[in-house]
């Protein structure tokens, strides 16, 4: 039976879809059968991050409209054979919690992990995505607005009975953390009262191939999700100590 994990954040633009794609790839690389469900209707981008934007096929609204079965709508990744995508839709699509839950239930026997990419905010779409999951990963940027929105999303999720939650801190600047100008992962964990699944440094963008490669920080996070060794990437490491202070100085002067 698949583990159903919703990737959410509260605030938009903090890297939910990127992290969903990266965690999915990292898990698939370990041989896990993973399906990514793009529940961000109207603003779906998972296909883009996976390099599958040109692939035509059915999407969630087609399944719900009875035009196809879930299995027919699943898009297999050409590079990672155990990674699948269930596309959302480019148009805004009203979906309720019960409908999405039913759809997810049809898939849980065939996968090890179902990663549900939630829309931003705490509205209907968020509630539907959360209701379909048993666990949650909250993507949070080291900024007050992101921490505040994440806190609201966490309270809502707890209210919906999701208590297995962890934080994926995205966009951490090691140098700023060392200088006390940015929240440290420890501070974010203390504020949100959740364990840290991973800390991803601020380096990402879409690569030239239009596809992402998981950074070691994401691979560590995926390993923790799999129940393996608990390692969390430390972005401050290269900015600490004597050489670190030189690196910080150089970065400041650039």
């Amino acid at each position: 039976m698949a583990r159903k994990i919703v990737i959410t954040s509260g605030k938009g633009g903090v890297g939910k879809s990127t992290m969903t794609a990266l965690i999915g790839i990292a898990l698939a690389k370990k041989g896990e059968r993973v399906a990514l469900v793009d529940a961000d209707f109207g603003l779906n981008n998972l296909d883009l991050y996976l390099g599958l934007e040109g692939c035509d096929g059915y999407a969630i609204p087609d399944v719900l409209a009875g035009k196809c079965r879930v299995r027919q709508a699943l898009l297999r990744h050409p590079k990672y054979p155990t990674l699948w995508l269930l596309k959302g839709d480019k148009d805004s699509f009203p979906i309720n919690a019960q409908t999405l839950k039913g759809l997810i239930m049809q898939m849980e026997g065939e996968f090890d992990y179902l990663l549900i990419d939630s829309p931003a905010g705490v509205g209907e779409g968020f509630l539907a995505a959360v209701s379909a999951a048993d666990e949650g990963v909250v993507v949070v940027a080291p900024q007050l607005s992101s921490v505040r929105d994440a806190d609201k999303a966490i309270q809502r999720m707890k209210g919906l009975g999701i208590h297995t939650l962890s934080l994926l801190i995205n966009g951490s600047h090691g140098d700023l953390v060392v200088e006390g100008e940015e929240f440290s992962p420890k501070e974010i964990a203390k504020l949100l009262k959740l364990p840290v699944l991973g800390v991803v440094p601020h380096i990402y963008g879409l690569s030239c191939e239009g596809e992402l490669t998981p950074h070691i920080a994401v691979r560590y996070a995926a390993e923790i999700l799999r129940g393996g060794k608990r390692r969390v990437y430390d972005p401050t490491k290269r900015y600490s100590g004597f050489w670190g202070s030189i690196r910080r100085g150089l970065k400041r002067s650039l």
């Binding site: 007050l144 921490v147 505040r148 929240f183 501070e187 504020l191 009262k193």
Partner: protein, 74 residues
């Protein structure tokens, strides 16, 4: 933990403070009425929601002159 942390902590706590002064006064009056059935109260009752590491705790403080005599039916 620095100044930034303290500010964030205060913002998050303020967001969670859902009990406005009027609602608080209503609860205090209710509790006072109920408690006065068992105790002779000598001062006003104070209700406080204390936020800590593990979440929130409700603290009720009031001065009591004595415990009233009451019987419990078996």
């Amino acid at each position: 933990m620095g100044r930034m942390f303290q500010r964030a902590y205060e913002v998050l706590q303020a967001d969670k403070a859902v009990l406005d002064d009027e609602s608080k006064a209503v609860i205090e009056r209710d509790l006072e009425k109920k408690l006065s059935e068992y105790f002779e109260l000598s001062g006003g009752l104070r209700l406080e929601i204390v936020s800590g590491e593990e979440g929130c705790a409700l603290a009720i403080t009031c001065k009591v002159e004595r415990v009233k005599r009451f019987r419990i039916l078996p």
